[in-house]
Symmetry: C2
Subunit: 285 residues, 2 copies
């Protein structure tokens, strides 16, 4: 296996990619904020299986964190990330400094408006999806990949990225990759490492609650209030898990729904030990 | 000379450009709203001189017009535009319908914030530069040109485009092309055709006033108030020319200046016969 190359500058990255691009190889991009886990590696493997060159970007993007959020505390371990990327055959790790992504005098924003960014996490993280849309647009233009891979764990982010790619006519295919879970069902997340042992055990209630709603829906329940009440009731059994929201929405538009008639997303956000965790499942359709 | 091809769909356009792109030819884009004049043709010629394939987009972008502006009245003559593009050797005229540029459910905006869009015309056309930034980003992604050509007549627009290209890391070189003027100095504009004969004669005062300021600056005047007063005084001699603003700003940032110490832009906007006209010159530096 070729050795992973780590680059910090856009110019160097583009130079590295000129050869595979000219040779007609497909380029895959996995955008990340680092502190890798198996979820990230699943994204990298999907690209490794399909693309001639696999680029992973590692950039903790300041503009998608609110002033009271965990930008400074976001976990980082660059050496470990390099080894984990190398282990799954990544070709290039692109780890730019802030001034490379946001050049001096930068004032340009990309924003997806409407339900896609106003609903779910958008209600609690003002500006978050604008930061995501802006940095993803930058990364897609920097790398110019044929495909880019995003985890379904961040379901709303995936929809926002699909929307901006379609609206701005970015020439890239967006691939959603299923959430990778721990043995007890907890969705893998870099933020899980910040939990206490007790918090880590309690956090598994989130997926259990979603699974319970899925069972009810499979048994014929379709009323949103009923499904949400059942989900919330299970989460309430773990007092250390502070529910922020549990919502049922149209899986394509994120518009709220009263009843499951087609594909719907059941999404949850909660705070555990001061760490914000999210999860979701698709039901119906 | 090869015959001009007119295409309406992004897919067809990309198909047409695949061959010259694969052959390593440079692709030039001239974004326009049609109703061509010699200013547009100067942009097309610049691209024709340098690029292997010249694409002109013709799209009257609704999102850059305010609710009280002239979107519906904007002059259009497609047959004449095709002939004028053919005359200067354009390869492809891309004239998409609205649903091609703004796909169903489109909600994505690109916005350059700060002085670049808040000053000069930005004070009088809220949302205009957001519409420009959004459609230019779309067009650059659709065509993926090596170079794109913009007139210096729309100086603020040129700066906004340069800024978003730099910030979003769009892989394109932006070329500014000097304003083409009528014999009496009036900057060419599609909107000039909507003037009455008297309005057309009166409109030449705009450039005369800018020229007067340039003479004063060349003779050593540098105080903004003095230069602006001289400009405004000349314009006031034509009562049918209703001044909207005349301002002196840093030519790179559009920040207001009290004194010309480096490159400055002297920009003017006025209404004549209900038509809004703009012009500018660079002084100092």
């Amino acid at each position: 296996m070729a050795l992973l190359k780590t680059v910090r500058s856009i110019e160097e990255l583009r130079g590295l990619l000129a050869e595979p691009r000219a040779a007609g190889k497909s380029i895959g991009l996995v955008p990340t904020m680092g502190f890798f886990h198996e979820g990230h590696q699943a994204l990298m493997r999907r690209s490794r299986e399909r693309d001639g060159a696999v680029v992973v970007s590692l950039y903790v993007n300041p503009t998608q964190f609110g002033p009271s959020e965990d930008y400074l505390e976001y976990p980082r371990d660059f050496g470990r990330d390099e080894r984990m990327a190398q282990d799954v055959g990544v070709d290039v790790l692109f780890a730019p400094p802030d001034e490379e992504m946001y050049p001096p005098g930068d004032t340009t924003l990309v924003e997806v408006t409407g339900d896609l960014t106003a609903r779910l996490c958008g209600q609690y993280r003002p500006g978050h999806f604008r930061g995501v849309a802006t940095v993803v647009t930058k990364l897609l233009n920097v790398v110019q990949p044929h495909r880019a891979y995003f985890g379904e764990k961040d379901y709303q982010q995936l929809l926002v990225v699909r929307r901006l790619v379609q609206d701005l006519h970015l020439p890239v295919e967006i691939i959603g990759v299923p959430t990778v879970r721990e043995a007890d069902g907890l969705a893998m997340s870099s933020r899980n490492t910040t939990l206490t042992a007790a918090g880590r055990r309690a956090a598994a209630v989130l997926y259990r609650s979603l699974e319970r709603a899925r069972e009810l829906a499979a048994a014929g329940a379709s009323d949103a209030r009923e499904l949400l009440a059942a989900t919330g009731e299970i989460i309430a059994r773990e007092p250390s898990v502070k529910l922020q929201y549990v919502e049922l929405a149209d899986a394509a538009t994120l518009a709220p729904i009263d009843r499951v008639t087609g594909r719907a997303v059941l999404a949850v956000a909660a705070n555990v030990d001061g760490t914000r965790l999210i999860d979701n499942i698709i039901i119906g359709g």
